[in-house]
């Protein structure tokens, strides 16, 4: 599904990705975790072609990413900050994205799911942050694509919407779709994800299931296991020396 080979990216002098290798098969939910500034968003953006790598190759569904744009037809992406042109109404924005994608969509179901019906005729500039995030979710999930990338999907959502979102993710996963999710809410990650991809210093530091992570770090609590993982290996190296 996704192949990343020796990916390098730096912004000025700041090295963000340093020879990252990643292979992701189809199906399942992959949580991309890591400390702030470890390159999670950069990795996602290189997959989408928004950030151009300095070195290395990427391919999504066997199609190389470089200078291409049609492959994005198979990706649904939820960006981190939901900020839309203020003068458009919610209905118009949805119609516009549909017009751009030219794919069958099921936005009505999602609008009902997140209770957005009363907001359809409102201008986007008048919506609250949480409502904007719901609109963002509708735009992301309304198309049927094999790869779904969510950058901080829980931002600003109320508990009910969060439950609906989880149900939605599980429903789509059951159809054999692949998810890449970043989040700082560990409880959410633990509930939904099958595999953890842990980034540190521009490389994949750990890739495996939550139970593997727990046994590796010797922690029974997932949050503590994540906190322990970055210190775990340096400890390991100490022993080797």
């Amino acid at each position: 599904m996704i192949q990343v080979k020796s990916l390098h990216k730096k912004f000025g002098k700041n090295v963000v990705l340093a020879g990252l290798e990643l292979h992701i098969d189809q199906g399942g939910i992959f949580a991309i975790l890591g400390p702030n500034g470890s390159g999670k968003t950069t990795l996602i953006k290189t997959l989408l072609g928004m950030v151009l790598p300095n070195k290395g190759t990427l391919s999504v569904m066997d199609s190389p990413v470089k200078n291409k744009w049609k492959y994005r037809q198979d990706i649904n992406y939820l960006p981190q900050i939901a900020n839309f042109p203020g003068n458009l109404r919610v209905k118009e924005l949805i119609a516009m994205i549909k017009d751009i994608r030219q794919k069958p969509s099921n936005e009505q179901k999602l609008i009902d799911l997140f209770g957005l019906e009363p907001f359809l005729d409102k201008k986007l500039s008048n919506l609250s942050g949480g409502t904007k995030q719901k609109v963002n979710l509708v735009l992301t999930f309304m198309f049927d694509s094999p790869l779904i990338i969510l950058d901080e999907p829980t931002n600003g959502l109320d508990p009910l919407a969060l439950i609906r979102l989880k149900e939605l993710i599980f429903k789509e996963k059951a159809k054999g779709k692949t998810f890449l999710i970043t989040s700082h809410i560990m409880q959410f990650v633990e509930e939904v994800s099958d595999q953890i991809v842990y980034l540190l210093e521009g490389k994949i530091y750990f890739k495996g299931s939550i139970s593997e992570l727990k046994t590796k770090t010797g922690q029974s609590n997932f949050e503590h296991a994540i906190a322990a993982i970055s210190t775990y290996n340096s400890h390991d190296q100490d022993i080797e020396i």
Binding site: F11, K45, L48, G49, M50, V51, L52, W69, K70, Y71, R72, Q73, I75, Y77, P79, I81, A82, N83, F84, P85, G86, N87, L88, E92, M96, I97, D99, I100, R101, L139
Partner: protein, 260 residues
């Protein structure tokens, strides 16, 4: 690209500022016609306003629109659309709606006044054409500046500087050089220097079309010899076209290589 253009255009057409801009020209047109009572004089006054105001509004609107729609641009970048289409679409959306405000705002009062029966129609059309070019040029420059500067304050600063340079500083430097080199023949020099500034070029073009070049003395005669001919007009329009095409090309070039 057409789709992005369409939506940017709709978005702008419904924003308050487009109306303010449109109403300003509408008011200006009516007031000038009633005060001057003569079309060609109104055209000259309008020219003085347009030549300074259109580039300023184009620059400010361009920078503002780019920075305001940044997150939305990122959303579009993740959609299956070519990068250059996104930026060119937004650019033409902004430039198009500004040009629309200008042409409609001035066109309505002049049409009501009886422009179509008058001889001033060509002067007036030239005024609108140069106004449209100036909008396209300065919006493109603004987009270039915004694209190259992540920092909004810096971007705004540079944009205003660019406007100030072409509208004011350039003329100052030009005049100074004329004084410094007054002992040399400067006709060709001033012709060329005028050609390189879109604002000066537009002004000269309109002034000469209005047949008041006699007021400009000897230099005016030289200018008339060049700009008054078909070749001069063609060259001027060509230069304005280049002024539009180069920034637009750079816009696509830079957008293709930028990280978002």
């Amino acid at each position: 690209m057409i789709k992005i253009l369409k939506y940017s255009f709709y978005d702008l057409v419904r924003s308050r500022w487009s109306y303010v801009y449109f109403l300003f020209y509408l008011l200006l047109g009516f007031v000038l016609l009633f005060l001057n009572n003569e079309l060609s004089k109104a055209v000259i006054t309008l020219m003085n306003v347009i030549i300074v105001l259109v580039p300023l509004i184009g620059t400010i609107f361009g920078v503002m629109y780019y920075y305001n729609s940044k997150e939305f641009t990122e959303l579009l970048l993740a959609q299956p659309i070519k990068r250059s289409s996104i930026f060119l679409g937004q650019y033409f959306g902004v430039a198009g709606s500004l040009t629309g405000s200008l042409i409609l705002g001035l066109g309505i009062p002049f049409a009501l006044y009886g422009l179509f029966q008058s001889n001033a129609i060509w002067d007036f059309s030239l005024l609108l054409i140069t106004g449209a070019f100036l909008t396209l040029i300065f919006t493109a420059l603004a987009f270039n500046i915004a694209l190259s500067n992540e920092n909004k304050i810096k971007g705004f600063g540079y944009a205003v500087l660019v406007w100030l340079f072409w509208a004011v500083i350039y003329d100052g430097l030009f005049l100074m050089s004329l004084i410094v080199f007054e002992e040399y023949p400067l006709d060709t020099f001033s012709l060329i220097v005028t050609m390189f500034n879109p604002i000066d070029l537009s002004r000269t073009l309109i002034l000469l079309k209005l047949d008041i070049s006699a007021l400009l003395g000897y230099t005016g005669a030289i200018f008339k010899q060049f700009f008054g001919t078909d070749l001069g007009l063609f060259m001027s329009i060509f230069m304005l076209f280049l002024w539009t095409a180069i920034p637009v090309w750079r816009l696509g070039y830079v957008a293709k290589r930028k990280d978002f």
